[in-house]
Symmetry: C2
Subunit: 149 residues, 2 copies
């Protein structure tokens, strides 16, 4: 959308659009993760899934999707790829056969050690100060909350 300072003469000017900056920054961020994550054989969305599972092993696809704001259309094929890599086991819940129980394999658990260094490397890569990153996170979270309604 436009930058509104306060009335833009041309609302359709690309350089004034916050959304384009957000979109480009997010694409660049995913690209920047690639060299670090390819050592783990993971894409960025797969890395996100692994982070959730490292914290909450055994959860369902639904809960995973709520954490990541992604649906089964995205997660089902992604989880199959993680299963093929031998990192995740896609079992069924005993209580409710509809639900998957996403369990880490030993290899999936072990990968956490290698992943530990990624956040600090990416932090350095951004070149932003901790205060700037905090500010950026707050604004993104606030924007997300508004758009989710």
């Amino acid at each position: 959308m436009h930058m509104s300072s306060p009335l833009p003469e041309n609302p359709l000017c690309l350089d004034d659009q916050v959304c384009f900056s957000l979109y480009s920054a997010a694409n660049a961020m995913v690209r920047a993760y690639r060299p670090y994550l390819e050592q783990l054989q993971l894409t960025y969305p797969q890395y996100l899934v692994m982070m959730v599972l490292w914290e909450r092993n055994g959860i369902s696809v639904k809960l995973l999707g709520e954490q990541l704001h992604l649906d089964s259309g995205t997660l089902t094929p992604l989880l199959k790829r993680l299963e093929l890599k031998g990192l995740v086991c896609r079992g069924r819940s005993q209580q409710d056969e509809r639900m998957r129980e996403l369990a880490l394999t030993d290899a999936g658990q072990a990968l956490r050690e290698q992943a530990m260094s990624v956040p600090l490397q990416m932090f350095c890569r951004t070149g932003l100060t901790p205060a700037q990153l905090t500010e950026l996170k707050q604004l993104c979270d606030q924007l997300w909350s508004q758009l989710a309604e």
Copy 2:
């Protein structure tokens, strides 16, 4: 990457990661554009392309890609879809047969009028103040510059 305030006890905690907030906000933003853009029969990336062409009609794929930070692998099929919709003509440059000359059709030109209302609608949709949006844009631009190096 982690939030660093100043030493996170768990660097792999999803809720502390700026990058995940950025990623989620960008996805939500593209989703939020959908209801406004489907009246124009455009996706968000197609809308970005049209915005560039409304400003710089007749440019090449290379220049378009530099503006949008996208490559030919993304743009070629996208432009073919815009051509199918009858919005863009993918001609060849006279001086250099390698280059495409991306020219708006009359329908493509006319669509600009309908698109004029989109930025203000999206601005309202965000619920952020102009100052917050300016801050967000600056941080995204700075992050992008760092990651582009």
